[in-house]
Symmetry: C2
Subunit: 389 residues, 2 copies
């Protein structure tokens, strides 16, 4: 096992009816900025429950935070915070809204000239942030229980990440019933997103960390079991609860303790979103299977473990090593398709001629040595994209 630090002070309020408890966890005298996205929370009852729970607190609304939240939009929220002397942010929505709140929380108190520096320095220059909490409506990114955020600057076509010890949500409310009305596309995307988060922290090389491996495998197996049920029976409480907790546990720092991490799939995926506007999960579903095929030798030991423990492909019964690895990768890809997320570039009308600009974008963002051993070169990324056509 590798040395590690673990720290995660976010309070989770999980279950049916928990939005009412905002009254206990938002400071009684808070001046709240209520941040949300496109307005779906006005149709599914979440908005009304939040407003009721906040009671007599001063509430200012900031709406229109887009998927892949933009620096341009978020800087408008920073202005609203300053003009209204807001002292608490409440993000109501999915990972994009929560990621946005993290940036606004840090940018509102940033002491440098230009908050864009937060992204350029990946958050290392954050010394304080406004307190904030979240009400999660879309299980997927794990942002509700971590300190990371991804922000896109439209004018530069740049999608960049930052994190900071000051950017953990104070609390997050997770009510599975609030996910019943999600579009199926978002349900599928969410399960794929959580699945690939686990894989980025698990599918590397063995370091004798059996607890972390078994936790990761437990999340993967649960996502495989519960994901399709959520598409078939949208109002099954336990299924929604299990998916929601999987997505949170997939990226709250617990399963990455003491193990190497990859994240090459995410870095290539970010360029696909920036240049072609694909959903984040779509990019992961495209890149991961090819990444595993191209990097089969580097990941052989963990791929065999994954084949056996997650997909029950066993030595002596299910073919030789390469057959079992290939079958496990195939089943992974099938699972993404089963969740309604297409896994080829051609499914999104992206052609071979689109690959060189994607590789150039990786180069421009200095993504030239990716993966757990920093040996995923631009040439390997190009091969991965070509195999994904």
């Amino acid at each position: 096992m590798l040395n590690f630090d673990f720290y995660n002070p976010t309070q989770i309020l999980f279950g049916k009816g928990r939005i009412a408890d905002l009254n206990k966890v938002v400071p009684a005298d808070a001046k709240v900025l209520l941040m949300y996205g496109g307005g779906s929370i006005k149709h599914n009852g979440v908005f009304d429950e939040v407003i009721a729970a906040l009671g007599s607190r001063s509430v200012t609304e900031f709406t229109g935070i887009e998927p892949n939240p933009s620096y341009e939009t978020l800087m408008k929220a920073v202005e609203v915070v300053k003009q209204n002397k807001i002292d608490f942010l409440l993000a109501v929505g999915g990972g994009s809204v929560i990621d946005g709140a993290k940036f606004v929380a840090a940018a509102a108190l940033f002491e440098g000239d230009d908050p864009w520096a937060i992204l350029e320095k990946r958050g290392t220059n954050i010394t304080k942030a406004l307190p904030f909490g979240s009400v999660l409506t879309l299980p997927a990114t794990g942002s509700e229980m971590n300190n990371g955020s991804v922000v896109t600057r439209k004018s530069l076509k740049a999608k960049m990440a930052f994190s900071s010890r000051h950017c953990f949500p104070l609390f997050s409310v997770l009510d599975p019933t609030k996910t019943y009305t999600l579009p199926l596309r978002q349900v599928g995307n969410g399960a794929v997103d959580a699945f690939v988060h686990v894989m980025e922290q698990y599918m590397t090389y063995p370091v004798n960390a059996p607890v972390q491996d078994r936790f990761a495998e437990g999340l993967l197996k649960t996502l495989i079991e519960e994901g399709p049920k959520a598409l078939a029976n949208p109002e099954d409480y336990d299924v929604r609860a299990n998916l929601m907790w999987c997505a949170t546990m997939a990226l709250n720092g617990m399963i990455s303790t003491g193990v190497p991490q990859d994240w090459a799939t995410h870095m290539i995926g970010h360029e696909l979103t920036a240049l072609h506007g694909l959903d984040h999960a779509q990019t992961l579903a495209i890149v991961l299977p090819s990444m595993l095929r191209i990097r089969k030798e580097a990941k052989r030991a963990k791929l065999l473990q994954y084949a056996e423990r997650v997909w029950d492909l066993r030595e002596g019964r299910d073919g030789d090593e390469d057959s079992r690895i290939d079958a496990a990768i195939g089943k992974t890809q099938d699972f993404f398709e089963q969740m309604g997320v297409k896994t080829h570039l051609s499914d999104y009308a992206i052609k071979a001629s689109d690959i060189p600009p994607l590789v150039s974008a990786l180069e421009n963002h200095r993504m030239v040595a990716l993966g757990e051993k920093r040996d995923v070169t631009l040439d390997i990324s190009r091969q991965v994209l070509e195999l994904s056509l």
Copy 2:
């Protein structure tokens, strides 16, 4: 899944050489009370590393915290805190020292007349506590990453628990190399303690919480694999690291999210320690197998799951349901014996005539309706003890 709250702000610093990082996490101007037990830390290098890391900070020592820390001893530490205007506690040792620090942290700032009220009210009357951290030398209780504590008042022969949101360690340093020199008895006890902690949160009835179940099973399987290796090869780093992380994860609140909990075995065990002075883990190793046998019907579904997933006892291959359940309980008991922890009352010279006083003690402490369904009556506790002879 049941509704739940999760909150755990303790920072973990894990790995070889991490004691030096005390310099980063203990406030630079702290007046530190260094709390420890019998002095083993003076022989294994831990004390010297801690003192070196604390540098020029003011350090007062408080030694002699016993296993099953006593109210009487801890109140002396409270006096030292007040006399020396201590503002930070550093517990260096196992669960007893850390539990002791939690009590001292709360008692030093307690506003009532008599800090014994903290135990009488189970911590609900704690409104603040001194900040404290720990350096863990004995993986077992999980106290390094939770807010619970058990304190014994010798004069009353009472062993009582409390917890409070104010009693999480600010940080805990976990260096597996510092466990190399532990007596084998403590290694065995530690693995059994962690194992039973998991069982208390897992072995109840199904509530469709597959993530929590798989996490619990992952911890149990890892303890079964790694425990005996630690006895055979005391200086295997990975084995020690895996045991240490298992023990912490076993009781930091993660695996109990959204599931029922039992704890009847612990309550009966506490009386065995209070009246007969047994090690905590010895009491658990005695009580758990009998508890599972007596409560087989109430726990049938989870016992079958446990038999299959933890002990690989399968339908169609390993006998009928009752055979598999009995075999799983037998293997559990064998594991405790393998770890050097005896599992019968008679191994500790406790006789049938000692049982009525134990049952009376349970009654005096109002432990008359234990377990996940509060249906473990005094009569059932008596049967469990009789089966343990």
